[in-house]
């Protein structure tokens, strides 16, 4: 039965249920227990924001604190995945991919192809992304487009507690490497989540709002910005359809195109940078596959091509907001 729980609780519950169900599922990362070798509590932290709190108590040495050596433990998770375990490794901030990217994109992503189909690497790398925490340039990025670029990786960007649980369970059960991206500003978001375990298949976008005039394709935290904009635009009698990608690799292009063919207009909303991003990717796909359906040029609403700033006013300016989305929608409607 469904209850109202947070995004963070939904993730913790997915981990607990899968660890309960399958003893080859293990968890590793910096401070995922947060007390190894210390005189105080064994699971003092449960992850830097407490997402994995309580799992050490339930699963003991299957929840492993690591040294702050991302290359070694992300690589170890990858190696263990080829050797009979289903590791879930936590890369604390997606920004830290810089120190372990080789293990993700040259190792995990490549094994199956480069070994001629004779490899299975069921590893999940959970990682926190996104701006809004005044955490500045090295703790706030939206780097999922980088992973989306790499064949061999699957990339998941849940926007709600329901999706977070179902997509994480699918990630753990999936036999390919999965980068599971959690927006830090969504951890406290609450929503209905079934108590039971359930898996949401990858590559199925979710039309979270139906509309006739404009399609807004978005993902992650920006879904909620899109809804805020759509609510406001409804008062101007502009009807927006909102498509939440849920996974960027695989990407459900059918649903995007189907929606654009109905509305004839597209705004893509992505918290990432504007170049080589999900916004450009979706725009290019629609331009190539559904150009004939377009009644107006596509608009992209993204963060600017700058690092994430620290000062509150600058960071607020950096993050795409509902006003920008409304303006983009009015533009494609010819009402600006």
């Amino acid at each position: 039965m469904a209850r109202n729980i947070s995004y963070q609780q939904a993730i913790g519950e997915a981990l607990a249920q899968e660890m309960e169900r399958d003893e080859t599922v293990i968890l590793m990362g910096e401070d995922v227990a947060g007390g190894a070798g210390s005189p105080g509590e064994d699971d003092a932290w449960g992850g830097v924001l407490g997402v994995t709190k309580g799992l050490y108590g339930k699963f003991g040495d299957r929840v492993m604190d690591t040294p702050i050596t991302e290359s070694a433990f992300i690589g170890a998770a990858v190696g263990a995945a080829t050797s009979g375990l289903r590791p879930v490794a936590e890369l604390m901030f997606i920004d830290f991919m810089g120190v372990c990217f080789d293990q993700m994109f040259n190792q995990a992503a490549k094994f199956r192809y480069m070994f001629g189909g004779n490899a299975e690497t069921p590893v999940v790398i959970r990682t926190m992304y996104g701006a809004g925490f005044r955490a500045a340039a090295q703790h706030s990025q939206c780097l999922y487009p980088v992973f989306t670029h790499i064949p061999g990786l699957k990339v998941v960007t849940p926007s709600t507690p329901y999706d977070a649980k179902g997509l994480l369970i699918q990630s753990i059960r999936d036999n390919d490497p999965v980068i599971f991206c959690e927006h830090k500003a969504l951890y406290t978001l609450e929503g209905d989540v079934p108590e039971e375990a359930y898996a949401i298949p990858f590559g199925e976008a979710n039309v979270t709002r139906e509309g006739d005039d404009v399609t807004i394709v978005t993902l992650g935290r920006m879904l909620h910005v899109a809804h805020e904009a759509a609510d406001a635009l409804a008062k101007e009698k502009i009807s927006c359809e909102v498509v939440d990608l849920r996974t960027t690799s695989p990407m459900d292009t059918d649903t995007i195109i189907e929606s654009v063919e109905n509305t004839g207009r597209l705004v893509v909303l992505d918290e990432s940078h504007p170049r080589c991003s999900i916004a450009t990717d979706v725009s290019a796909i629609v331009a190539q596959e559904a150009f004939g359906a377009l009644k107006a040029p596509i608009r992209m609403v993204t963060a600017p091509h700058v690092p994430v700033p620290f000062a509150e006013n600058l960071e607020d300016l950096y993050i795409p907001d509902a006003g920008q989305v409304q303006q983009a929608v009015r533009t494609v409607m010819g009402k600006d």
């Binding site: 039965m1 469904a2 039971e196 898996a199 199925e204 979710n206 039309v207």
Partner: protein, 371 residues
């Protein structure tokens, strides 16, 4: 102010409805309305249906307009007798709007109204509405849940207690379906009655739920006051096995939608949200296995294993069989040639989900049967 003034409000259909959008009025201002008449079409994110009034009078005022999205309980229109002055109606509207508080989002917990009961080790979820009298128990079909009765439950509960339950393997009940056949599920319904201390009930079953209700009635003559079978299984071997198999196998929206459309006479009723809700159910661990087990016992190879047609004459109380003439899952031909104790109503043009698509007529027939 005249006490003949009645508000027509946005109804709450099912557990999770928060708001509805007015699709259009079916009655004009000044029209005479009788209890049970449909006055307005409303779309919700899950489904579209008509607003039925339970009072009589003249439609004196249309408050909501086409395209308005209004919360549950919001004022749609006003009924009153001819003699009521316009000023009184204006005053009523003003007072209603001043006092109306839309339901808060956070108290809109889908599960809050339901309860669970342990039946022989299985947790069974149910929703009780109304009170008193000999209760009705609503039993949904294969792949359904207690929300299948969203247009019937409240209406039938006006004068008595009405229970709608989730069968094992469905809704929020335990996923353990045992052997999974009609007899096993009938035992759960009997156990449900025992667990809640229901000595006697009117059973209403849809599809597989009909076969289950019939089975309960045959085995417990003293506990069943009447029996209503809607698009019911159990009266012949035919059933659309492709539907059952397709419903089980479909993992994604695109695959599931064509199967679910077979259930309705109007495929437009199959909203995105309806499909999403079904997918959310099907994706829960254990559901797939439960449905497969039920299918294997209930309709192995796509044909019903248990046909109780020859025994329906033995049912003690009154029996009503309702069918949509265009039912694509269980053919309406199963309604033909039933013994004289069965009142048969075949609704022209309706499909398998007749209790949803022709809710007021189905509700009326059940009320008539029960008396």
């Amino acid at each position: 102010m005249s006490d003949s003034i009645r508000a027509i409000c946005m109804p709450k259909w099912g557990l999770s409805m928060k708001e509805g959008t007015v699709a259009g009025w079916l009655m004009d201002e000044g029209d005479e309305i009788s209890s049970g008449d449909e006055v307005m079409d409303v779309d919700t994110e899950k489904i579209s249906s008509a607003v039925e009034v339970s009072e009589s009078g003249i439609l004196r005022r249309q408050i909501a307009s086409e395209g308005d999205t209004l919360s549950v309980g919001d004022l749609l229109g006003v009924l009153a007798d001819e003699a009521t002055p316009d000023a009184d109606i204006d005053a009523f509207v003003t007072e209603f709007q001043a006092n109306y508080v839309p339901p808060a989002d956070d108290e809109e917990d889908g599960g809050a109204a339901t309860e669970t009961v342990d039946v022989d080790g299985r947790s069974i979820r149910y929703l009780l509405r109304g009170e008193g009298g000999v209760p009705i128990i609503l039993v949904h079909g294969f792949g359904g849940d207690l929300n299948n009765w969203l247009f019937n439950h409240e209406a039938l509960a006006a004068t008595r207690a009405v229970y709608a339950l989730d069968l094992p393997g469905h809704g929020a009940s335990s996923k353990d379906v045992g052997e999974g056949g009609v007899a096993a599920l009938a035992a759960v319904v009997s156990g449900f009655m025992a667990a809640l201390g229901i000595d006697k009930a009117h059973l209403v079953g849809h599809s597989l739920g009909g076969a289950i209700a019939l089975s309960v009635a045959l085995d417990n003559a003293d506990k069943v006051a009447s029996l209503t079978l809607i698009g019911s299984a159990g009266l012949g071997a035919d059933i659309d096995g492709d539907y059952l198999q397709g419903f089980i196998a479909a993992e994604r929206r695109k695959d599931l939608k064509p199967h679910v459309e077979k259930l309705f006479s109007d495929p437009a009723l199959v909203t995105r949200q309806l499909i999403n809700d079904l997918l959310a159910f099907k994706r829960i661990d254990g559901v797939q296995a439960a449905l497969e087990t039920i299918m294997a016992a209930f309709a192995p190879g796509g044909s019903q294993a248990l046909v109780l047609r020859d025994r329906i004459g033995d049912v003690a109380g009154p029996v009503l069989a309702i069918w949509g003439s265009g039912d694509r899952i269980v053919p309406a031909s199963h309604a033909e040639g039933l013994p004289g104790n069965v009142r048969v109503e075949v609704m022209a043009g309706q499909g398998h989900m007749v209790q949803m698509e022709a809710a007021s007529e189905v509700n009326r027939l059940i009320d008539e049967l029960i008396g």
